[in-house]
Amino acid sequence: MHFGFTDDELLLRDAVRALFERECPPDVVRAAWDAESLDRRVWDALAQMGVPGVLVAEASGGLGLDELSLVLLLEESGRAALPHPMVETAAVAAPLLGAGLGARLVATDLGGVLVPCAGDADLLLLRAPDGLRAFERAAVTVVPEPTVDRARRAGLVQCRPEDGTLVTGDEGAIDLAFDRGALGTAAQLVGLAQRMLELTVAYAKERRQFGVPIGSFQAVKHRLADALLQVEFARPAVHRAAWSVAHDVADRARDVSMAKAMASDAALHVAGAALQCHGAIGYTVEYDLHLWMKRAWALARAWGDGGWHRDRVGRAIGV
């Protein structure tokens, strides 16, 4: 029994965190809101590190790591509010498509009808009557759909199945791909929650009212302690689910759903606490908080929301 990470896993995590700090500051997230096409500099840097291939075998040109590394890196992408479809590419597509993705971006409708970065992707993995099919960008029609987090760049996709290539018709493989997507999204939600909490703690230490930092008020302290509690208990659930997927244990679906439910709830909870503790400043688009908050609202309900996943847990535990 060992519930923790190896030094190598943590070193890679630290390297990716450093990359995001350098290459993906809030301005990059903000730019994704209105850009004609998504700026790929961050993604290219990630690809150079091999991150999109984290789950691909070394023999096939990947990093040959497992879902434990994956969730650590995705948590970092959540912290950075990375606008690129890292879950879709690294967690969902790469294990199915194997080597050769390179720096290509993948979009998919496995997580819901609204497809993030549909217009920006090079390749789309879409449900078809006979399974999951891969389409080149040019083979599909994308209708952009306005959503609260414009950096998600969501769209609705229309395609003719015969224009794509069958990737897999195996329902088990598709379920696994879905679980990886939900797991990866859960990890991003933990990262988003962590960042919102840090931002709010920093603000509460600095902002003064009534002659003292607002963080010295017990109401603010207790609200942020609760937020911390949610994050600190959601994170191990995500880590355990990563292990369950990596080892394809019998309880995989249950564990992934527990992780997604907890991460969704934690992120929504922290977003609420963050906004309330910020007050009016958090309610503006000039301040950065909303970039994280809106991502949290979107991801909390993508790939199944808390209620959906608890329903799935319930079926697994026989209630």
């Binding site: 009808v113 009212q209 993508a302």
Partner: protein, 384 residues
């Protein structure tokens, strides 16, 4: 106790409903917190005024109908039920007007109220400052005495729709040596005046709903002082829980939203019905709770209006009122988003309403401040 409406009240309701049915725009106007939307809303406001529905509870001489508080409640119910546009004039009508009625001179009433009712003057509030939010008494914007008036310097912020208005009412420190609640004066400032700069900025939902207002040697005449010089805090606070009831948050809005929520639940979620979403996850219980919350708010309001009609002064329970509606509004919209599931992130009425609801626990005194007030002034717990 009598929970029925009189024939006269029913007739009033019928008249309002009929007019609204005939006049409410068929498709919703664009947000009144955008420049284009604001202009369209003004047209609507003027239509309301022409039909004398703009300020029903005001005296006829200022454009109202001398309606009772009960009729005002009825009108609001009908207004929201009809899906009529957001009132972009509300900060003047609900926040400034009660103060003018109570503290204004006759000259001020005649000058200010009819133009406010007709949406000819558009009023925004200048209370908060960068360092005076929850701690409003920390105001530093100054009003210095000059011949025949005052010279203003400083900055206000979080001024709702400030970029679209032409007048501001606000608190300024008129006694340079004063501290906290003392030495403030309630002033009315034309935003076209020399030295005023207004910068609009984006609210959570992206609309330009806020503004910062900068004052640089802005001159305003003495006639623009509302109430006593240096007595602005009392003037401003006296009407925050106005016995005229005009600052009541009318239940009609929440009742109408809850009706939409019930529709959403019955339709199984929009746009993709999926009954599986709704079962076994507590959503039905939450929908019923939302209905109960809104109905309870309506009852609490009936109780408050009865007290007002009987001449009993309102007290700190305005804090309870604010806690209830603001947190209910968040829960109500959250339930709607959970019904929508993955569709919740789409832009639309529910997501817009959700973002707006989130401002409720923050503005007009954060709910932390309201809970302090309830605990200290109603329960008598020590201030420390």
């Amino acid at each position: 106790m009598d929970l029925t409406w009189s024939d006269a009240e029913e007739a009033f309701r019928a008249e309002a409903r009929e007019w609204l049915q005939a006049n409410v725009p068929e498709s919703p106007l664009p947000s009144g917190d955008t420049r284009e939307g604001f202009a369209l809303h003004l047209e609507w406001e003027r239509r309301l005024f022409d039909a004398r529905w703009a300020v029903v509870s005001w005296p006829e001489q200022y454009g109202g109908r001398d309606a009772t508080l009960w009729e005002w409640l009825i009108f609001e119910e009908e207004y929201y039920r009809a899906g009529a546009p957001q009132r972009v004039t509300q900060n003047g009508i609900f926040l400034l007007a009660p103060t003018v009625f109570e503290f204004g001179t006759q000259e001020q009433k005649d000058r200010i109220l009819p133009r406010m009712a007709a949406a000819e003057d558009l009023w925004c509030q200048g209370w908060s400052e960068p360092n005076a939010g929850s701690d409003l008494a920390a105001i530093t914007s100054r009003a210095d005495r000059v011949d025949g008036g005052w010279r203003l310097n400083g900055q206000k912020t979080w001024t709702t729709r400030g970029a679209f208005c032409n007048w501001l009412f606000g608190l300024f420190r008129s006694d340079a040596g004063s501290e906290r609640h003392r030495g403030l004066t309630y002033l009315l400032v034309p935003l076209e005046a020399d030295g005023v700069t207004v910068r609009g900025f984006g609210r959570l939902d992206g609309d330009e709903g806020f503004a910062e207002v900068f004052f640089e040697d802005v001159w305003v005449p003495d006639e623009n002082v509302l109430g006593g010089v240096d007595d602005g805090w009392n003037v401003a606070m006296a009407t925050t829980s106005s016995e005229r009831g005009l600052t009541l948050r009318s239940p009609g809005r929440f009742v109408a939203t809850t009706d939409r929520l019930l529709e959403l639940y019955r339709s199984g979620g929009d746009p993709a019905p999926s009954p599986a979403r709704l079962h076994g996850r507590g959503l039905r219980d939450r929908v019923v709770r939302a209905w109960i919350d809104a109905e309870a708010y309506r009852l609490f309001t009936l109780q408050a209006v009865t007290a007002a009609v009987e001449g009993r002064p309102p007290g700190a329970e305005a804090s309870l009122n604010k806690l209830w509606w603001s947190e209910m509004d968040v829960r109500l919209h959250e339930t709607a988003l959970d019904l929508l599931g993955p569709d919740a992130e789409r832009e639309g009425a529910w997501s817009k309403g959700w973002q707006f609801a989130l401002s409720g626990p923050i503005y007009a005194g954060t709910n932390e401040i309201q809970r302090n007030i309830a605990a200290e002034r109603i329960l008598g717990l020590p201030r420390r």
